[in-house]
């Protein structure tokens, strides 16, 4: 089994799990999440929350932060911005064809993406569990929250990868497109297509009830349906683009 995405000695992986850049990114995301956890700790007694019919914000804060962090990290990793390169190689834009571009996407790239997303989520799991415990989110809600983070991160990663395949690494268009995607996905969907917005879904789980402004199919099932459909479309697009080979694509890289 080929698993160069774990330790990439040749420097030809998009985001090797244990590369210097990724190790730093993993720790930083964990550290930021721990600060968010402390920030959203319920500093009042539990009976005070029950008496005032208020829900502690731990779950909402930590899970929303995890959605944003993992989404951003996924996007950066997919767009080949986490590749361990030095400053000059970025300026030179020396073309490096990555294994993810070379090899069949479904058998190499996609498993690598899924495993890395799971790995990052796994590192944050103690914080996520503690936050869910504090807010009293039931098992189903916890599972749904974790899957929302996972799906969001994977979707961002695939969007970043497609951008990379199209524009190449460290290009202005590529950079702008990935950020625009993140803003559109996390903010614009809140206004235009609330059912597809992961932050609103986390909010609905925090409230423990379907939200009034979400349509009938706007609950978790709706989110999963839309996200999986988009995910499937992105996977197919990535597979097609990878099959066409690096030569068939434009961009400096």
């Amino acid at each position: 089994m080929r698993a160069e995405y774990l330790f990439d000695a040749q420097g030809r992986s998009l985001a090797p799990f244990f590369s210097r850049t990724m190790l730093g990114m993993s720790f930083n995301s964990l550290f930021v999440l721990s600060l968010i956890f402390l920030l959203f700790w319920p500093y009042r007694d539990l009976p005070a929350y029950v008496a005032s019919l208020k829900t502690p914000l731990s779950f909402l804060g930590v899970f929303t932060a995890a959605v944003l962090i993992n989404g951003y990290v996924g996007l950066v990793c997919g767009a080949n911005e986490a590749h361990p390169r030095d400053y000059f190689s970025r300026i030179e834009r020396r073309r490096v064809v990555t294994f993810e571009e070379e090899r069949d996407f479904l058998s190499y790239g996609l498993p690598g993406f899924v495993l890395h997303t799971l790995f990052l989520l796994g590192l944050q799991l103690p914080f996520l569990l503690a936050a869910a415990a504090l807010t009293g989110v039931p098992w189903i809600g916890l599972g749904q929250g974790l899957s929302i983070i996972m799906v969001t991160a994977l979707l961002c990663r695939l969007a970043g990868f497609l951008t990379y395949l199209h524009f190449g690494a460290w290009t202005r268009f590529g950079y702008m497109t990935t950020r625009a995607f993140l803003l559109a996905y996390l903010l614009a969907t809140g206004l235009l297509l609330p059912a597809a917005n992961p932050v609103l879904q986390i909010y609905a789980l925090h409230e423990g009830r379907p939200l009034d402004f979400l349509p009938t199919l706007g609950g978790y099932a709706g989110f999963l349906l839309i996200s999986l459909a988009v995910l499937l479309a992105l996977i197919l697009a990535a597979q097609v683009r990878v099959r066409r080979g690096p030569a068939g694509r434009q961009g400096g890289g």
Binding site: F27, F31, D45, V50, P126
Partner: protein, 673 residues
């Protein structure tokens, strides 16, 4: 179909299109069926609300629903939805009363409910559900049915409409059918007076007779009339109501002694039949030729007036003093019920909410635990980055560390919090008055949910109406309505509660407690003897006397306890104060039930002390203690919900003054002083 085919055997185009259109419409059939409620064929619903279609607002009232099934056998549930609150304040709240329905084909059944209706602006909904779908629905506009005055029920077959004009003002006279009277005592809550012929008693079933008797015991007022048809007074229904002995019918020359009672001259000629009756412990209010015409009997907190003559006979109904007579009779009504209990329960909710079994984990320990995890991950990442030889081995450590800490979080934090996610507490206050009347009980049940919970509270005893205490605080919670089901010998409340919410429910009633106490004040001091033949111990009893509170000790089950406070102690000792109680309750109780008991004790005794101090020259002493068991038999589901119960017994004992204090004590007697 064949005749319409052309020679080639093909269906004409228009017909094909018509068929497709029908198929297209059929696709929408399920949608149509789901939008409009299905009406079960042959199912009919009739109802009688209140008494003669009138009910008193803000009081419990009867509702009889008659279901008639001329179709297929039906199994389901009959629901009656009472809605209160205001859309403006976003506190609209519905209580559903439910009863199981099992109607074979061609049957007719009546279902009796007792409802508390607080608002007339929302319609009353009655619906039959079968297989999760509404098969029949009826909405009732409450505006034409409500009144705000007490109701005067006149029950009998020979009631003249003229009588209604003779009854005193301040009430709404009604003549309901006896068979539609409520089957719970609280169903009579809106009634001010019941005036009934003796014959009506035989028309009541067992439940109705029991409910009537219980209502009287709890503060109700019944005027029972004799006359020619006195046979029902000999029956068990009459005996259930009052200890009446009837020895026949006699003729008196006139009813002129009623003149003294009513303050109007008796003008009616001719003799009148009078029932010769005796009621144990009753007070005669008018006597004619040695026969009591009017007897007054106090039963519990209520009263029964027995009229030995027939007030519906023409000889009485033509009397000019009739209106004054009924006014005088209504004047005998006991004070409105037993009155409020001494403890203000409004402040209790806050105390109950302050002590819950659930709590957040320690911040220090959680931060330390997760901090260790972050440091460990940081160290591993650092080692992986700076080593070449054991990189793969160290890389395995990362998921391992994450798995171990995740499992610890799951076990120590998540599962533990989940266990404590739902809880309840209950405060029961039993008060035994000094005048020998039955004990009164009121209770507050608090349900608390940290996660969405479906609570089921089962009350094994009938006769204690459960109702929500206070309106839900937020609109979201108002949607979480509760369902009340009356079952044989009890009732069940089902409440679906969202996360981080609480609800309080209130119940009250009259109970029998077989406790006896005696207090004597003599030269030797104050001696209080308590007999507790019940199987329940009374713990931490305090004695309130002369504006002070003294320790009395525990009264074990099945024991007699005598305590004596000498004159010197009575004169010198200032008694317990709030500070003492606070000091006692500051012991570091680890058990939340004990913490709750101490908190409620502190809260209750603040009121008790202030009430004790306001009565510095009492004619009675008061005992305050904590019961081991309460007589309610209340069970809460889910079974894993943590619960705590606190039961306060308040007992007023009349004080007997004598020259010397009683001295003899039987076996099992304790002495103190």
């Amino acid at each position: 179909m064949k005749a319409r085919q052309n020679r080639e055997g093909r269906t004409p185009v228009g017909q094909r299109r018509g068929g497709r259109f029908l198929l297209f419409l059929l696709c929408f059939a399920p949608v149509l069926f789901s939008v409009f409620p299905v009406r079960a064929a042959g199912l009919g619903l009739d109802y009688t609300l209140g008494f003669d279609s009138r009910f008193r607002l803000g009081a419990w009232t009867p509702l009889t629903v008659v279901l008639e099934n001329q179709g297929a056998p039906l199994r389901g549930v009959l629901e009656v939805v009472v809605t209160t609150g205001s859309e403006y304040y976003q506190n609209v709240h519905a209580t559903t009363h439910a009863a199981s329905v099992d109607l074979p084909a061609h049957t007719r059944k009546a279902y009796a409910f007792s409802l508390r209706i607080d608002a007339f602006s929302h319609p009353l909904i009655m619906r039959v559900k079968s297989g999760g779908r509404v098969v029949l629905r009826r909405s009732v506009n409450l505006r034409p049915h409500y009144v705000t005055e007490p109701l005067f029920l006149v029950l009998g077959e020979r009631i003249s409409p003229d009588l209604f004009g003779q009854l005193p003002a301040g009430g709404v006279p009604l003549a309901p059918l006896a068979r539609l009277l409520p089957r719970t005592w609280y169903g009579f809550e809106g009634v001010g007076m019941i005036l009934m012929e003796a014959a009506v008693l035989s028309a009541l079933d067992q439940d109705q007779a029991a409910a009537l008797a219980e209502w009287v015991r709890g503060g109700g007022f019944v005027v029972l009339c004799g006359g020619w048809r006195y046979e029902p007074l000999l029956g068990p229904q009459a005996q259930r109501l009052l200890p009446l002995t009837v020895s026949g019918l006699e003729q008196v020359a006139s009813l002129k002694s009623l003149a003294a009672f009513a303050g109007r001259p008796w003008t009616q000629p001719g003799p009148a039949p009078v029932v010769r009756a005796a009621i144990q412990g009753a007070e005669p209010l008018a006597v004619e030729d040695g026969l009591p015409l009017i007897l007054q009997k106090d039963l519990g907190y209520g009263r029964v007036i027995f009229l030995a003559f027939d007030p519906f006979a023409p000889s009485f109904s033509r009397w000019a003093g009739q209106a004054r007579f009924w006014e005088r009779v209504y004047g005998l009504k006991p004070p409105a019920g037993p009155g409020p209990m001494p403890l203000p329960l409004a402040g209790l909710e806050k105390e109950m909410l302050a002590e819950l079994p659930a709590g957040f984990p320690s911040f220090i320990w959680t931060a330390l635990f997760l901090g260790v995890y972050v440091v460990l991950v940081g160290l591993l990442l650092h080692r992986i980055e700076h080593t070449r030889t054991r990189q793969r081995l160290l890389a395995l450590g990362l998921p391992l560390a994450a798995a171990i800490f995740s499992l610890l979080c799951l076990g120590l934090l998540y599962a533990r919090q989940a266990d404590r996610g739902r809880s309840y507490s209950r405060f029961v206050h039993v008060m035994i008055p000094e005048d020998g009347r039955p004990a009164r009980l009121e209770a507050v049940v608090g349900l608390y949910a940290v996660r969405p919970t479906f609570f089921r509270v089962h009350l094994a005893r009938a006769g204690f109406p459960l109702r929500p205490l206070g309106a839900p605080l937020v609109a979201d919670q108002a949607r979480q309505d509760e369902v009340l089901s009356d079952e044989a010998g009890g009732q069940t409340l089902e409440a679906r509660m969202p996360a981080w919410s609480h609800r309080f429910f209130y119940l009250r009633g009259v109970v029998d407690l077989d406790l006896k106490a005696e207090a004597r004040l003599g030269d030797a001091g104050l001696e209080v003897a308590v007999d507790n033949p019940t199987g329940r111990a009374i713990r931490g009893v305090r004695l309130a006397y002369d504006g002070r509170l003294f320790d009395f000790g525990d009264v074990p089950a099945g024991r007699r306890l005598v305590r004596r406070l000498g004159q010197a102690r009575l004169r010198l000792e200032s008694g317990l104060d709030t500070a003492d109680l606070k000091r006692e309750s500051e012991s570091s109780a680890s058990d939340y039930q004990e913490r709750l008991r101490q908190r409620i004790e502190r809260w209750a005794f603040e009121f008790i002390l202030s009430s004790v101090k306001s009565r510095s020259h009492p004619e009675s002493v008061a005992l305050y203690g904590w019961l081991d068991e309460d007589p309610l038999g209340l069970a809460v589901r889910p079974g894993d919900a943590s619960g705590s119960v606190v039961r306060l017994l308040e007992w007023r004992v009349p004080l007997k003054r004598s020259g010397t204090a009683a001295t003899g004590h039987g076996q099992g007697t304790d002495h103190a002083g």
